[in-house]
Symmetry: C2
DNA sequence: CGTAGAATGTTCTTTGAGAGAACTAAATCC
DNA sequence: GGATTTAGTTCTCTCAAAGAACATTCTACG
C-alpha cells in the first residue's frame, strides 16, 4: 500500500501498460530462459497475440533474441527466447583499501577478464589509471561486444544525485567526484555505489537461477568496517541522504573499545577484521597502534582465518569472540528490519562453519520471536567476488527495473 | 529502481492507466483541496478533458464532491472539488495496558465522540465490550454517515495475513485472534496494526495540510516499550514476518540492566517509561519488583514528568538520563535508516524542550555525518492521540493508495 | 500415407481510453 | 458590447489491449 507522492508523481499515459508488460516479459525471459511465447502467455495470463507484439518490440531493440526451436511432446515446436547478454559488456570496478579490481564481464555476470593493481588514493590519478586500463581491456578482450557502462564500487558513502563520494575513510576521501570524472575520461556511463548496497543489488538482480529472489533481505559486509545493504519491497534502501545501512556504528557497549569513528563500543569496533586482528594480537583497537603493528607483522585477517582452520587455539578464540558480536549485530538487523534472509560477505565467511554455532546462539539470545531467530543466514565467500558482481548489477539493473509509475 | 517479482506480479491492462491517474487525482484533491479541474490539469500535465472524465468517475462513486464556485481574477469561475469525508465514518480503537480508547471519527480525522474504559484483557470479553460500544456510538452519534470500517491499534506484533496478535506482552496475548472476531461481532471490516506502525501511517496519510509528506521517515514510540514504525519509498515497512521496527531490544550495554524480554541492556530497559520510573525510584528494573511498587506508590510516568516540569531535581535527573539513552536510540535509527525526519511519540514528548539539549548531544556523538546528526526530530504530544489517528489511517489509507502494478 | 488433434505463433477485428482540438460557459476589461 | 481570459465539456482521432480467427508444424493413429 504505497502512498502517491503528490509533489513528484509519474502520471500514466496510454503507453504505460505496454512499458509495464514489456518489462514483465523481459524479467520472465531473464528468470526462466529458455522460454517460449506460449509459456509467457500462460504465465502472464494474456493472449499469445499480445505476447508476439511485446516480444517483437524486445527483439527489435535487441534486449532478447530468438534461439532454436526445441522438441515438444505434441504440436508445433516452440521457438525459445533468451536475454541477450553475451555481446553486452560491463566494466566492473571494486576500489578497496589496498587493491583495486577491474573486471570485464558480460551482462549475465560471466567474467571475461580480471585485473588487479595497487589502489591509488589520489582521485585524479586513480581515474586516469582506470580509464587507460578500461580502454585497453575493451580493445583486447572486448571482441564484437559493446560496453554498456561502468559499475564502480567504493568503500564509503555515495551521493547518488551528484555521484560524489561523501566519505570514504579507508581512502581518505571526503566529497570527491569520481563518477563524472571517470565518465568524462572514458565516454561511458558510470554508476557508483557503496559496497554493501552494491552487494545487495547483486543478489537482487544477478541471483542464482531458480533460487529465491526475495523482495526483502539484507546483505551484511564484514571487512575493515561493517555495513548493511537492505532491500524492501524489491527496492534497495539508500536513505534520505544516502547513509542508510550504517549499522557498523551502533553501540553494543557504551563503555566498550574506542572505535575508529571516535565513539565507543561500536559494533564495528567489536567485529570488524581490524577488531579481530587486535584481539588476536592482544592489542587495543586504535589506528595509532594497529597500523604500524600490522605493517611490521604483515599479518592480515586471512592469516588469522588460516590459523583458525588449522586449529590454532588463539585464532579460534579471537574469531569466536568476533562471531559472538557478529551474532549480536545480526540480531540487531533482524529486530530492526525482519528480513526474509541475510547474506554475510567478507573474509569471515570462509570460516563460517566453525563460527555458526556461536553466531546462532547469540542471535537466539536476542531475537524476539522464534521465527525471527530462525532467519536464514547465508555466507558468501570472497571468491565469488560479490562486490564486482554488485558493480555489474549497477549497470544491468536499470534495464530490468519496473517502470516508475504513480 | 524496483525489481519486478516474477513470482507475484500485477500485469497492466487497458484499465491500468485510468486506475493510476484516478488515484493521482484523488490524492491531489486530498492534499490541495479545494482545487479546480483546471488546476488538476495543470498539476498533472494533462488536458482538461481527461480531468473531466476522471473527476466524473470519482464523483459518481462518491469519493469526492463538488463545492461552491469561487471568485477568480479573470475568466470563468472554477467549481471547487473536495474529498468526501464528513459523512464517512471510522471507529478508531486504541487498546493499551490500562485503558482502551474508542473514538468515532470522520475520514478526515475529525473526532465526533471519544470513550474510555478499563482494558479487559480477556480477548472474547474485550471484543464483546467493543462491539456493544461501537453499535451504541454509531446509533447515537453516527447521524446519516456510513461507517466504512474499524481501525484497531494494539501494543504488540500483528500478523497482517491472519489478523492475529502474535505477541502482546502488556496484555498477555499470544497468537490471539481479535480482528476477525470483532469483524464478525460488528459486521464491519476491521484493520489491525501495532502502535508504532499505526502512528507512522497516521503521519503518512493524515499529515498536516501543506506540511511535508515525506516518502521516508520514522516514528519512534516511547511508552512501556520502545518501538519504531518506518516508511520507505512511501510504504510502511512491516518485515518478512511482521516484526520489523523492534529497535527496543537493541543492546546498548551487554552488561546493562536486565530487560523484561530477558536479555540484558536493551534500549528499552534504558529509556522506556518503566525504566525512567525505576531510575526515579532508585530501583532495579524488573517486573517482580516494579509492579507491586508502582501499585503501592500509584506513581506513573506522568507524575515524574509533572515533577520535572515543576523543578524536582530527582525527576529531572531521571528524565535526563532517559533522554541521553533516547538520543542514543535515535542515533541508531538515524544510522540504520537515515530517515528524512523522525517523530517521537509518548509521554516524554511533554517535557521535550527540557530534554532536547541532552538528546541532541547524544545524537551528535554517534551520528556519522553532520547532516544525519541534524535530522529533524519532532515530538508529538499525547494530547493529539497519535494512535487513534493511526487507527483512522488504517481504514482511510487503502482508498488513497497507489494501485499495485508490475 | 493421410487425416485428426494439439500445440505454437501470427494476423485480423473490435473496443475503449488517452490525447488533443473544438466548442460552450461565464467571468473581467477596456 | 465586443475582446479577452479562464473553466469546463464534448467531440474526433489514434493506438494498444483483448480476443477471435487463422496459419503453421508437430504427433498419434488408423
Amino acid at each position: 500500500m504505497r502512498k502517491i507522492n503528490t509533489r513528484s508523481f509519474v502520471r500514466a499515459t496510454r503507453a504505460t501498460p505496454r512499458e509495464i508488460n514489456r518489462q514483465i516479459v523481459l524479467n520472465l525471459v531473464h528468470e526462466h530462459q529458455p522460454i517460449s511465447r506460449a509459456d509467457l502467455a500462460r504465465r502472464m495470463d494474456i493472449g499469445r497475440g499480445m505476447v508476439t507484439s511485446l516480444v517483437d518490440e524486445l527483439l527489435s531493440e535487441g534486449s532478447i533474441y530468438e534461439g532454436d526451436t526445441i522438441d515438444a511432446p505434441r504440436g508445433r515446436r516452440p521457438k525459445m527466447l533468451y536475454v541477450r547478454t553475451h555481446d553486452r559488456l560491463v566494466v566492473a570496478i571494486d576500489v578497496r583499501f589496498s587493491q583495486t579490481f577491474v573486471m570485464l564481464s558480460d551482462f549475465a555476470g560471466t567474467a571475461i577478464a580480471l585485473e588487479t593493481f595497487e589502489t591509488v588514493v589520489v582521485p585524479a590519478a586513480l581515474v586516469q589509471q582506470l580509464a587507460s586500463r578500461i580502454t585497453r581491456l575493451l580493445d583486447t578482450h572486448g571482441g564484437t561486444g559493446r560496453c554498456e557502462g561502468i559499475g564502480l564500487v567504493v568503500p564509503g558513502m555515495v551521493d547518488q544525485h551528484s555521484g560524489r563520494v561523501l566519505n570514504a575513510p579507508q581512502l581518505g576521501w571526503k566529497d570527491v567526484d569520481v563518477r563524472d570524472a571517470l565518465a568524462r575520461a572514458t565516454g561511458l556511463p558510470v554508476h557508483i555505489e557503496n559496497a554493501p548496497i552494491a552487494c545487495a543489488l547483486a543478489h537482487m538482480w544477478l541471483g542464482q537461477r531458480g533460487g529465491p529472489v526475495p523482495g526483502d533481505f539484507a546483505y551484511v559486509t564484514v571487512s575493515d568496517g561493517v555495513g548493511v545493504g537492505f532491500v524492501v519491497n524489491g527496492e534497495v534502501v539508500r536513505g534520505h541522504t544516502n547513509t542508510a545501512g550504517e549499522f557498523g556504528h551502533i553501540p553494543l557497549d557504551l563503555k566498550g573499545p574506542t572505535c575508529l569513528c571516535g565513539a565507543r563500543g561500536c559494533l564495528e569496533a567489536h567485529t570488524s577484521n581490524l577488531a579481530t586482528l587486535a584481539r588476536y594480537l592482544g592489542q587495543q583497537l586504535s589506528s595509532a597502534t594497529m597500523r604500524p603493528l600490522l605493517q611490521s607483522t604483515r599479518l592480515s585477517i586471512t592469516d588469522v582465518i588460516a590459523h583458525a582452520r588449522s586449529g590454532d587455539a588463539r585464532a579460534i578464540a579471537a574469531l569466536d569472540e568476533t562471531a559472538r558480536y557478529l551474532g549480536i549485530g545480526l540480531s540487531i538487523v533482524i529486530n530492526a528490519l525482519n528480513p526474509s534472509e541475510i547474506f554475510v560477505g567478507g573474509e569471515i565467511a570462509d570460516v563460517w562453519d566453525q563460527l555458526l554455532p556461536t553466531i546462532r546462539a547469540a542471535i537466539a539470545d536476542r531475537a524476539l520471536t522464534s521465527t525471527a531467530a530462525a532467519t536464514p543466514i547465508i555466507p558468501e565467500a570472497a571468491s565469488s567476488y560479490p562486490r564486482l558482481r554488485g558493480a555489474i548489477a549497477l549497470v544491468a539493473a536499470p534495464l530490468f527495473a519496473a517502470p516508475r509509475v504513480a
